[in-house]
């Protein structure tokens, strides 16, 4: 279980304009600015939940995850993870959590991943029988195969990420902090990682807190999302409820020709890509519009969907410096 109450994390950052003059001035007079990366955040996550943590770049997502995993000391507020204060980094706490950062690695670069796994077995105090069992399970779920024996530097990005996940999970943590775990991976590898995270969560009743650049990760994995912006939480709840609140209209797409004036009467035209047309239709008019389309000649392959999460994020953070779809 994770409980966060009024968490604040402020950084003092040295500011200096570019140029030699500014560099020289900064020797005698340094200007600092306080950045309120996380400013009064509160939430509670129960054991076994999968929660997406969303927000634009610099919103405070990664800072929060680092506080929750004990890397950063909070400026103020109360944080409890698996019954521990993370910043104390008690051995028992560290054995229960893991933090996977898609852009950083714990694998030893010039040695095969198996060496890092063995090292982790020793430092996490996993007994050899459990280690072998967990490794066999991870090898099966992640299809690690021969990767264990190849030097890390010779692995592809996707192969490395799978081995990173194995390294992060060999001690069977019950709380997973995943910061962009699929960044840079191709679509099929993203799907593999997603399926693995879901399977791990279900097998071990593990709590998962995920940030991702890819909204598909969030949609596939997280029934609940917490949205943070400027260090403050602006939404905490069901993903579908967020989508409905921000973009209540449904997307109706179909193949086949329809006259422009007819489309204009049915709803707002979102796209017309070759023979496929997508309209935005208020939920209240859905039955009427579908009926009309089904009555029309040559209309088929009809689909009704929620708007993509990217659009929800774009609307949510409209005007922010780094607009979604980068909502990782």
């Amino acid at each position: 279980m994770i409980e966060v109450r009024d968490l604040k994390k402020h950084f003092k950052v040295h500011k200096r304009p570019p140029g030699l003059g500014a560099a020289l001035r900064s020797i005698v007079h340094r200007t600092y600015q306080t950045v309120e990366a996380v400013d009064g955040v509160s939430f509670r996550i129960e054991r076994g939940e999968r929660v997406g943590f969303l927000g634009p770049n610099g919103a405070g997502k990664t800072t929060t995850l680092k506080v929750l995993s004990g890397l950063l000391h909070p400026t103020s507020g109360e944080v409890t993870v698996a019954g521990h204060r993370p910043q104390r980094r008690a051995a028992d706490f560290l054995r229960q959590i893991t933090l996977v950062m898609g852009q950083k690695q714990q694998l030893i670069w010039d040695l095969p991943p198996a060496e890092t796994w063995t090292l982790n077995r020793a430092v996490f105090g996993v007994n050899p029988a459990d280690f072998d069992r967990t490794l066999a399970e991870l090898t099966e779920l992640l299809e690690l195969g021969e990767l264990a024996q190849k030097p890390t530097r010779q692995l592809s990005l996707g192969e490395r990420m799978k081995c990173e996940l194995a390294a992060a999970l060999l001690h069977r943590p019950t709380t997973l902090f995943l910061d962009e775990p699929t960044i840079g991976l191709d679509v099929s590898m993203q799907v593999t990682i997603r399926e693995f995270i879901r399977a791990y969560n279900q097998r071990h009743d593990a709590t998962v807190m995920l940030t991702s650049h890819y909204m598909d990760d969030v949609v596939a994995l997280c029934p609940r999302v917490i949205v943070i912006d400027g260090g403050h939480i602006i939404h905490d709840g069901d993903l579908r409820a967020l989508v409905k609140a921000m973009l209540p209209d449904k997307r109706v797409s179909f193949s086949g020709a329809a006259a422009a004036d007819v489309l204009a009467r049915l709803g707002r035209l979102v796209s017309r890509d070759g023979a496929r047309t997508t309209l935005e239709v208020p939920e209240a008019r859905l039955r009427e519009v579908i009926g009309h389309l089904l009555d029309g000649d040559g209309i088929g392959d009809l689909a009704i969907e929620d708007p993509p999460l990217e659009d929800v994020m774009r609307k949510l953070f409209k005007g922010k410096p780094s607009e979604p779809p980068d909502a990782g």
């Binding site: 950084f11 040295h14 680092k66 995993s69 004990g70 890397l71 950063l72 000391h73 910043q87 980094r89 051995a91 028992d92 560290l94 054995r95 959590i97 893991t98 933090l99 950062m101 852009q103 950083k104 690695q105 714990q106 030893i108 010039d110 040695l111 060496e115 890092t116 063995t118 090292l119 982790n120 077995r121 020793a122 430092v123 996490f124 105090g125």
Partner: protein
């Protein structure tokens, strides 16, 4: 710890070429040996004969290579780049993992300095070396103390990266003082009185000069050498304490940038 040492050794072997090159760049004692040998060519300089100089500087070369490490650079870079996060997520104190890494490098270091040890033992310099068990035992303790003290000093300097953007600049200052005050360039016996007194009050001598002096018989027996080794260990433990304090104060400020 055995697994950490084994993985550390595997890492050392993976980086063997870089490490051997790095160790071989420690040429200062050989330069000083050439210089002082020519000074003492015809007559001893103060109490040092040419053979004494050979024994002293080969001893300095061996001690320097056996007791050195790169933990200041390692820790400082890990703090600056945020990669220290990975160590902080493991339930073992980062000092212990650094300790394992650098202890694991010792076999390769010993291999590289073996030729110097062979020369020291096979040439007439051997006559200068201690040959009794008491002082040999103290020498082993002193080498361990020098290793630990150097490790502690470098950990403390590395930990300053929590407070300073460019803590490695301090390494340059450190090396300047170390070379002068440790006996690396000139034996403490040959220093002017005030300088020697100063050196005896600083830790640098115990990182290099003390074991070398012990090796070449500057202390007549174990009883005379024991206070030197005791002082050295006090420095080593004290410096580890300082590194620990710097760590405790610093890790609260860790910002894990980029990671």
């Amino acid at each position: 710890m055995p697994t950490m040492l084994r993985v550390g050794l595997a890492e050392t072997i993976a980086y063997r070429a870089e490490m051997v090159v790095w160790i071989l760049t420690t040429t200062m004692p050989l330069v000083m040996l050439a210089l002082w040998s020519s000074v003492a060519d015809e007559a001893p300089f103060r109490q040092y004969t040419q053979t004494d100089f050979v024994a002293y500087y080969l001893g300095a070369l061996i001690v320097r290579n056996l007791t050195s490490n790169w933990v200041a650079w390692q820790l400082s870079e890990e703090i600056r780049l945020g990669t220290l996060s990975m160590r902080l997520l493991r339930p073992v104190h980062p000092f212990a993992s650094f300790l394992a890494t650098h202890l694991a490098a010792l076999p390769l270091r010993a291999l590289v300095v073996t030729p110097a040890i062979v020369i020291l033992v096979l040439t007439e310099a051997r006559a200068v070396l201690i040959d009794d068990a008491g002082r040999a035992g103290l020498l082993a303790l002193s080498l361990a103390g020098a290793w630990l003290l150097t490790f502690g000093v470098f950990l403390a300097i590395g930990a300053l990266a929590f407070f300073l953007e460019k803590s490695l600049a301090l390494i340059e200052v450190y090396f300047g003082v170390f070379m002068l005050m440790s006996g690396y360039i000139i034996p403490l016996d040959l220093m002017p009185g005030w300088m020697r007194t100063t050196a005896e009050w600083l830790p640098f001598r115990y990182m290099l000069g003390a074991p070398v002096e012990l090796l070449i018989g500057r202390y007549p027996d174990a009883a005379a050498a024991a206070p030197l080794v005791a002082t050295q260990w006090a420095w080593a433990l004290g410096m580890l304490g300082v590194a620990g304090l710097a760590w405790r104060a610093g890790v609260r400020r860790f910002e894990a940038y980029g990671a």
